[in-house]
Assembly symmetry: C4
Homo-oligomer: 347 residues x 4
């Protein structure tokens, strides 16, 4: 155990301040800041708790199965690592460290297009346990080449971020932020980060991207049920209900409140994942009760990474998995792939 | 009068800090802590006040009857003592002290399986005024023998805890907690506390336990109306709507909000009791208005015990009974066994 | 102008602390305390503001009429002085001072049975501008004699308090409270304050009291619409929606939330007044919009009395009347006897 | 850039304290204070955020059009400058400075009847980019002459304030407020500010005013849908949903909550603008989603003016326009004249 001991009682939230304490101010802000007034950053976390649990009892929970699959890939727990750029800012172990933690736990890592580690190195660690996140760059050739390179390295899917046609504005200055020595984007030269410089990102571009590869293209950043339904109509196999962790557009609906209408709209025609504010095993249960198939965990993984490198990131994943296992049992849920809708209620 | 004088004005909540001040830190935390973030510990208390009272007037309340029965046993007020382990941690009087307070007031004590006083000693004090709480231990023989022993000693019912198939995780460390000298579990050896090590606790086990004894088996820890309806269908005679005082699973619905759906689901086919966050006589009225037949009082009894031994525990019971008597009259309720549903409203 | 100058900007609430500062602690607590946890004391004030105003415009409000009648008595503004005992505790001017302020403003004073000034003295000041509040004492003869004495002195109505079949318990100690020299109950000897010692106070007793006098008996302390409807059925001419200022039963519905169901239930068959937490002219408008014919003002009158004797009490009444006049105009209400229901909304 | 640098991250709210720091106390209070308890001042700001955004994705937002028209006048962004008196109190640049900022940005300024700069000077700067706000003075001839003078100078509309038949009472004292040297009302002599001394302001007076000029008369200060419908019935071409920034009547519904019923009632028959508490580009989007055609920006313009004169006021307008452009794109809104209703939700 490398993380501070209290965390096993107080949960992941306690790691936030601990991580900030070991990082330069600019790096900590790079991890934490959200768009403008950070209403959504805070609301994301709070909204999960607004769903109260109403457990079932006298169910056989001698063995709880937390196993699930995402796009047919078996995972030990339905907790994926969200795409986050420049992980070597948090710790020299960076993306490799997170990848080792994920691989050892039979999880899945979504590698950010802004990775500070070559994807060949990550693919060697992760095997098939990774997906590749992409923005649609103005340079379509570069976008396509990264997509094909990831596919050829074994990525199981592309995760196209659709909620950031422009870069949002963080509320706190990042003036103190400097790339640590030797840390840089390795896939995209800083001068090529003209995301959407023509800024056209429509369903046509989704189809274009899908045409570049044989692996599925997942859409990340959907909040409106009509967009979810359109994705299902278009044959998209999975979407991520996300507001980009509150980093792009402030004031968006917290994902815990957006999720139910989305899962209802798609009616099981595609897989729905969700991220934003997940801090407790019970939050994972809430997400599953509301129709998600898995959650993406973001900032807490970097807190663990900052505090303990690969081992710290792994302990964060373990802690959440243990909470999920225990709280599932206490909710009378023997199989987290079968969480009933009426486990949760806002009242 | 042994309790601090202000308590007669500010109510039981004021005793919490007073009790903590006279106990070692670890012992106070043993009494107070809840699971994880303690959302439910706090919500339990707050939820009762969210039900506003709408009193009736010009009713004859010259005499208020607070008398009721629980499973045909007459009690002077419908306030039972909840099962709590290791009461000698709070005060050397321990379970015997609470038992004396209960017997003198014609109440009912639910003795915890984790009692630090032999049940023979308690039975001698309580006569028929006690029920025996049980966990289903992995050691079924031990479980059955305790059940039969309690029945033979005059316990009126077994209270099977069904909401803790696993032990929850308290939010605050109990590292400071040491059993005071001479205090220990007397029914279950610490090594046998492998509650649910096979962790199978289903309706089959309820029936198995009922087969061991001639006294009724009550289920404690039901929040979902479907579980309550199933209990009624299976011939269970009483249930306790409870989230274990927020000590097992954090984020569960406060009992004051779970209760109405449960009482509606059972439609009078079994007796419903409730615990969690009861601090005022008016909270008892609220519970009765929402369909409960009685409440269980937990932590406040131990605060009184810590502050004044048996006499302190008794004063806590008296204080709540006096508040109930006065507030019933002020609500136009002449018989607390007949509290109308429309006495309370959330608005 | 005798009151602190800021009050003309910040409203009556500002007077509370100012009054407490000029009184002995016990006297200030005697004025302010409520039952138990004082939930209702606070909620009474807050609930009025939960009704937002939706003004009408382009109405002719060149002249606003605030005049109304209560039981056919014309009053300049529909703001009556609530019955409050022992007003000489607040200031030597006591009830006489309040009476002079009321008479000069063509208002109405409800004289408390616990008056510290003889009612003959008050009647001489008030003429017909007073009603007599009564509790039903165990000593029925005394009750009847006070009722008849008040009627013969010109009281326009009896106001029977029906929400205190027992005395509530104030949350803060009154140990510091001593009757100031020369202050005492003048109608009821302290030994006779055995309110409801037989505690039978039902509709029969209402009828009995009505049989003692030729003036109407008003019921004060109704919150439930069924009780209001029963009053109308029984020929009662007016009721006061009240929770006794939160001094008797804590946790009762704030009057601003109880009022709408009551006025709907009586459908204009009797006059409805309301008290509890009125602090602003706009609160009076809200009460009228919700169906009340007038409000009773309590504690703020005593704050004014404490700070400036009769003149101070009068300034409080003036301040609220001025706010009512101004805010009525700003709401497009030319006649406060005709406030439309849709002026207010909870949203 | 003349404004403090952090504002580009934290938004306009940050300017409030900065502006207060550079002004005399009385002047700052003149800008900020609201009526009585300032409930509405605060609620106006908070209510916008209670509408969560539910963005659409995969829309072509390569180019966002913020252009719109108000009464057929093209504006670059649908953000108008609200009428505010005595702008030279904030900065010597005063109304001229604001006018230069507005003209340079192809916006629209509503000039207050309480202007401290002659309207001839403003008309010379603004061309047709201004409307003239009026109160109905008791001196009808003066009112009519100002109206005609404005029309002849090129004002595109008269904006009649209908929500202030009387002057409200600010909560904080303005005793410290003195007109800075050389600052005064230039249209209305202080002795003529007997707004509504006969206080008759009805639909008749609206028609009378309309008869004085050939430009449209807009009504500012409507909150009730029935008044909005009446305006449409009477041929009024535009209204402003406003509670006068909370400066006149405290407790009025926040405009963000009043707006939906108004736009529904008029069904597109007239143009609806809204003011009160707009601080973010996303607030503008929310207003447009709820059916407004444009917003009026008030206090923030004066904060910018106080901090940087004309240039500061212009930067405030730029900042809000930039936020609107970015957040529209992030919401999937390519044309702010076409914001779908379901972009926002209270949940």
């Amino acid at each position: 155990v490398i993380l501070p001991p209290l965390t096993r009682h107080l949960g992941l939230d306690e790691l936030q301040a601990a991580a900030a304490a070991v990082l330069p101010v600019g790096s900590a802000e790079f991890l934490e800041t959200g768009a403008r007034g950070e209403l959504t950053v805070r609301a994301n976390v709070a909204a999960w708790s607004s769903w109260w649990l109403r457990p079932r009892v006298l169910v056989d929970v001698a063995e709880v199965s937390t196993a699930s699959t995402v796009l047919d890939l078996p995972v030990r727990v339905p907790i994926l690592v969200a795409p986050m750029s420049l992980q070597r800012v948090a710790h020299p172990d960076g993306e490799s460290g997170v990848a080792r933690a994920v691989a050892a736990r039979e999880g899945l890592m979504i590698v950010s297009m802004g990775t500070s580690t070559p994807i060949e190195e990550l693919a060697a660690i992760l095997g098939r346990r990774w997906w590749m996140q992409l923005y649609l760059l103005s340079d379509r050739d570069l976008t396509a080449s990264i997509a094909r390179r990831a596919a050829s390295l074994g990525a199981g899917a592309l995760v196209l971020t659709v909620d950031a046609p422009r870069v949002g504005t963080q509320s706190r200055p990042r003036d103190g932020f400097r790339y640590p020595d030797g840390v840089s984007d390795v896939l995209v030269d800083p001068t090529a980060w003209t995301i959407g410089s023509d800024r056209r990102l429509t369903w046509d571009e989704v189809h274009w991207l899908q045409d570049q590869v044989d692996i599925p293209v997942i859409l990340k950043g959907i909040l409106h049920p009509d967009d979810a339904a359109r994705a299902a109509d278009d044959g998209v196999r999975a979407i991520v209900v996300s507001n980009h962790g509150g980093r792009v557009l402030d004031g968006t609906l917290p994902t815990a409140l957006a999720l139910p209408a989305v899962t209802e709209a798609v009616g099981g025609r595609l897989e729905v994942y969700v991220d934003g504010g997940i801090r407790r095993g019970a939050d994972v249960l809430r997400a599953l009760a509301l129709g998600a198939r898995a959650v993406l965990l973001g900032r807490p993984v970097l807190w663990g990474l900052a505090l303990g490198g690969s081992e710290g990131a792994g302990e964060v994943l373990d802690l959440l998995a243990e909470e999920l296992d225990t709280d599932a049992a206490l909710c009378g849920v023997a199989d987290v792939a079968q969480v009933p809708h009426d486990l949760v209620e806002r009242i």
